[in-house]
Amino acid sequence: MMPLDRSQAPPLASLQAPPVPAYQRHVLANGLPVYLVPFGSQPVAEVQLVLEGGQWVQPVGGVANLTARMLQEGTHGYSAVELAQAFDRLGATVNLRASNHHTTLGVGLLSRHLPEGLALLQELVVRPSFPAERFTQLKTQTLQQLRIQQQRTQYHAQRGFFQGLFPSHPYGQVESAEAIEALGPDDLRQYWERHLRPLSGYVVVAGAFDPEPTLRALEAQLGVLQPTPAPDLPTATLAPANQGHTHVAVPEAVQTTLHLGHPAPPRSHPDYHRLRFLGVVLGGYFGSRLMATLREELGYTYGIGAGFTALRHAGYLAIRTDVANAYAEPALAAIRTEVERLRQAPIPPEELERARNAYLGRVIAGRETPFQIADLLISYLQHDLPLSTLGQGFAQVQAVTAKELLALAQQHLMPEALWVVSAGG
């Protein structure tokens, strides 16, 4: 054995692309597509029913989320308590949520109870009863949480950021207490009937389960449901984003939240993976430019993050951090400098290697469990991307050069177009 020399790093292997994720695709009798990801060492599984319809189609801010949450507050067959007890018996955790374009009903449970879990999922999606007294309670809870959120600098900065980035557009829509106050259970029932009951979407089941009986259970519980006609999706026009700086005063705040960024390409853009990587170089890992400068050199903040996010019809760069009130201006200047610096000079080879491997290592780590694979599939399906392109991002980031990244930075980082919202004392 070689003598130990602690000043020498052990040799590194090159990072290997993970295998392309494996899945099965089936179509139920009623046309509902099903994706199965059957593997895993633990006796659990997760069903996700992903339906088209989310904040994009809601009549007013808050409806999509409230409707999703109301699905487990009572059905024609079960009260809220009976539902909760029935799920508990299966070891099930229910996760109902609305995003920009979708409403997802998730049930994670012990694999041996999958058939019963699917029966309850059916109950939630086609037989919700929207009990008035439960809706009143949910509204009280939601308004109370909103009042608490309004004391947080992070809340005001984020809200202002999206409102200014996507003015008068569904992506910039925010909840307001007045609008929620005015809602009744019928508003939610109508939203459900119009956007969720059509069952326009797909099912993903991941975990340790036997595909054959699971498919039969899916057929029995979801395949028998008759879809109803789905509405045409409305279109929305993107207005120019705000630029400049606005400040929200939050009394008594000892820190200021900074939330800034600008528009960027949608998910369908051919440079999606390379841009994501550029965002990681800027602010997406511990060694990023922003962390190295604002935390490790200047000590302004506990943490700062940045990245490109791509949606169906648009995208954005977002940078966020919390700093002492007195550091807000110098922190903003330092952030601008870092954004500009990526446009001025190519990323040095040593840094590029570190950032690239940190990014690729994260991709590799993200392919361990069936639930990670399911979420990856969903991220492709949500954007109508062909599953045949799954896994291609790895090779693109592996191959991208400093010169290409410089060109991307010059095209997609726009310091003069930054929209800055600060909230604090």
Partner: protein, 413 residues
């Protein structure tokens, strides 16, 4: 079950290996048996500040993070009252890099005044971000000294106050390192696509030469048994009243630990739980409720939490809470079975990732209970209705309550 083998090097380092050949990555955890319980009451927050300094370079390696980034690794650390855990996941064929880096920082750090000053700034911003710049953020800073009067659990791991963090000197940092960071105060866990014999060879090569160190003793006072309730009322600019009721429970290694832990689950976990049904659904006195266990090693703490609905008085809430506790008399075995099934599912979901299996092994070894890890569910399943009611009578008795009333400025106590 998490299959593992345990080995001890001659310098006292405990090495736990869990082979999971189906996984392409490896998880490496180093858990040091040092936390905020080891701090001087005038230097609270030092253990956590020290954790930050562990990333600022060691004797032979100036940039710890750079090498992990190059290896495609993810890493971080956390500090609790009882331990400090450093963890890495990386492709299994890069394993030796983790051994190199972790053994070098166990050997010694490249301390400097400048690095200390910088991390003091960072930690002070962390203190503000988590505890001062959030509504109710400082609640636990006040709850702990209400619950503990003697034991160092009376301060939170972040520190009692910012002034303590500012006052730390380089000499204190060095002394802390040499009296707590040592192979004989550490467990190394390696899990994933690895072979036990290869792991042991690496452990011997990189950690074997590090000498044992003399550890600081940690003889701590025992809290006196509660005789009367205690409370503290804070009035702050918040929109809703929060009430936190804390009760002492047995030490983690005590066989009596499981019943009150399970009771807390029955009371506060999920929409079918007792607190949620009575306080949120039926009486609408609260908008949120919960119950949790702080997970401390020495005689510990559980907390019931409630956010009062607009118009609810503290007295109304407390009367109803007492009714919930009394109402447990109707507890049925079916309710216990449901809670145990939830625990089974939660454990299985958590163990889906090899990094979480490594963490469980590390935490249980640090609390001296490695061999208990495989039989936790059986412990809970063995509990009867009588066990749970006895735990209620013993531990959640009114004279043992330590209550923090965190009220809007205008609300009466």
């Amino acid at each position: 079950m998490i299959p593992y083998s345990l080995h001890t090097l001659s310098n006292g380092l405990r090495v736990v290996v869990h082979e999971a050949p189906e996984v392409a990555k490896a998880a490496v955890n180093l858990v040091y048996r040092v936390g905020s319980r080891h701090e001087d009451p005038a230097r609270t927050g030092l253990a956590h500040l020290f954790e930050h300094l562990m990333f600022e370079g060691s004797v032979h390696v100036p940039h710890y993070d750079h090498h992990l980034q190059r290896a495609g690794a993810e890493n971080n650390a956390f500090t609790t009252a009882d331990l400090t855990c450093y963890y890495i996941t990386l492709p299994a064929d890069q394993l030796e890099t983790a051994f190199w880096l972790e053994s070098d920082r166990m050997l010694g750090l490249a301390f400097s005044e400048a690095k200390l000053a910088l991390q003091q700034s960072v930690v002070i911003e962390e203190f503000k971000q988590r505890y001062l710049n959030q509504p109710y953020g400082d609640a636990y800073l006040h709850l702990r000294p209400l619950a503990y009067q003697l034991h160092p659990y009376r301060w939170m791991t972040i520190g009692e106050k910012i002034e303590h963090i500012e006052a730390v000197t380089l000499a204190e940092v060095e002394a802390f390192f040499y009296s707590h960071y040592a192979p004989n105060n550490c467990t190394l866990v390696v899990a994933g696509g690895v072979k036990t014999d290869a792991v042991l060879r690496l452990a011997e090569r990189w950690f074997g030469p590090i000498p044992r160190r003399a550890l600081a003793s940690n003889v701590l006072p025992t809290e006196p048994e509660a005789t009367a309730p205690r409370s503290l009322t804070l009035h702050r600019n918040v929109p809703a009243a929060h009430v936190y009721t804390a009760y002492g429970i047995p030490a983690r290694a005590d066989a009596a630990y499981y019943a009150p832990d399970f009771l807390i689950d029955l009371l506060g976990h999920g929409k079918a739980s007792r607190l949620y049904r009575r306080l949120v659904l039926d009486t609408e006195l609260c908008t949120r409720v919960g119950a949790f266990n702080w997970g401390l090693h020495d005689p510990g703490l559980v907390t019931l939490f409630a956010e009062l609905a607009p118009g609810t008085s503290v007295a109304q809430y407390e009367a109803e809470l007492a009714a919930v506790l009394a109402g447990l008399d109707t507890l049925q075995p079916d309710e216990l079975a449901r809670a145990a099934t939830k625990l089974e599912a939660a454990e299985a979901f958590e163990r889906t990732e090899v990094a979480n299996r490594a963490l469980a092994l590390a935490l249980f070894d640090a609390q001296g209970q490695l061999e208990e890890l495989g039989s936790l569910l059986e412990r809970y399943r063995a509990l009867t209705v009588d066990d749970v009611l006895a735990a209620r009578d013993r531990y959640l008795a009114p004279h043992r309550a330590r209550t923090l009333y965190y009220l809007p400025s205008a609300q009466a106590a």
